[in-house]
Symmetry: C3
């Protein structure tokens, strides 16, 4: 993997670990519970993707920097608890949208490298981005956000689809990644801002 | 895989995706939630089986026809909502029993091809048939039906066991499949008709 | 695997299957539900570990003795129901702590054989020991004990870490295993006795 991809991957891991740790702290979990939830949220999506595309052992298992980043971010929730509490929500929302975009792009890109078809590569982008949060929600006894929350996984899927489509049209990988990432990020932010939701039956 | 096996596999995928999508619509999920639930219900059992027997990437990931069938069936729930609502329940029950039988047989057969022992091949038939519904129930915050509902996974296991046993006795694959499939389907239908349940403690 | 490791592995499998079966009986599940819960509790942690480290198909799938031990132990819950009810709780607690220690050591050891880094080998010990119980809790609609219960997975992680550390210092595998196992068992028993808990935020 290129240095650039590693940096964005680790950044997204840290953001998602912070979110998972915060969700654990809010649920009144003990220290280990917070770390487990941080790790599952940050690494779960990528691990599921890697098992499904046949990249075994998964990157997050082979490379110690992934679990180290997730566990340090989870532990920092305990230390930074008050600082995070006074962080304006918009900062967390922007970071989350950035993590979502990075994981969606990285997931779809890796699936293409493993020669999955375009439909599945797009879905792998969505699983990478939303899989960890789904495990977190199941652990906390909640219906996963991916099933009920507005434009979240939808933004990840749209970004992944755009990147996969751009690649098929011959656009270079970096440019395709930027196109998909910007689309995902923009969709997610506008959805939060406008309270967009998908229609229900 | 033979053309015949592919046809029955895709048929069962469509039936299970319809059921998953309907469960999502009843739970008030949005469009993406319905598609996710349809996909998880239809493809989850086979994906778990493939990962466990070492057939990686799983068939449902490699072959675009599986996710395409599941997503189209899930999407059709939204379009056909009213038609499905007026479908007599017996039609859905028969289709479900047929899907259960097809998945149980296909799952046990594939496990035998991968040289699993008879006990595990039988269990793989049960996991293929009931695994997707279990994921669906966990996502919806319910105790999985496989843990509490009468003769459902039991029928799948019985059918898979009959097929595996027939193969051990030298019966040809197609005849073994018919024996197992008919046993599963019959058990399930009689259980529904007679309100059979397994004993509790 | 050596004969010794197999014996401890099967022993831990039986203990955890009994616990899973009992949890199912208490939740009012039918016979199949009890067997499924016994199998998931006893085999789930090792299966997740094997998939993640790339030991596919997992040991519990390839070797019929594992599912056979788990299913027989699960079935015996139904037969022995009264005997188990009159068993002093301390016996079950000691058996559980023993199973936890055995799985933590076996899990970390196997991860080292597959050349995982020390951090991940420790985590694999924890996943092997606590993974099955986590699946059981999710199936029963409860927040997993690993997220909320005092020194349980923590003891497994500490024992696994001690064993991995001893190996790095050049201690022989059997001695390292005893060091880690005794630490895990002692931590768990003292935690039960003293009602130790991890701090919450």
């Amino acid at each position: 993997m290129t240095r650039f991809l590693l940096v964005v991957d680790i950044s997204a891991t840290i953001v998602f670990a912070l979110e998972g740790g915060l969700a654990g702290a809010k649920a009144g979990l003990d220290l280990l519970g917070i770390l487990v939830l941080a790790g599952a949220t940050a690494l779960g999506g990528g691990i599921i993707r890697d098992v499904l595309i046949g990249a075994i052992p998964p990157q997050a298992i082979r490379d110690w920097r992934y679990p180290a980043a997730a566990l340090l971010a989870g532990a920092s929730v305990v230390v930074l608890d008050r600082s995070i509490a006074i962080t304006p929500p918009i900062v967390l929302i922007v970071l989350d949208a950035a993590g979502l975009s990075l994981f969606a792009i990285a997931g779809a890109q890796k699936a293409l490298v493993y020669e999955l078809n375009p439909l599945m590569a797009t879905i792998m982008g969505g699983i990478t981005a939303a899989g960890g949060g789904t495990i977190r929600d199941v652990f906390l006894g909640q219906i996963p956000a991916v099933l009920r929350t507005d434009i979240y996984a939808t933004a990840a899927l749209a970004g992944a689809a755009a990147m996969v489509g751009a690649r098929r049209l011959g656009v270079s990988p970096p440019v395709s990644a930027v196109i998909g990432g910007v689309l995902c990020f923009t969709l997610r932010m506008v959805a939060v801002w406008q309270h967009w939701n998908l229609p229900k039956l």
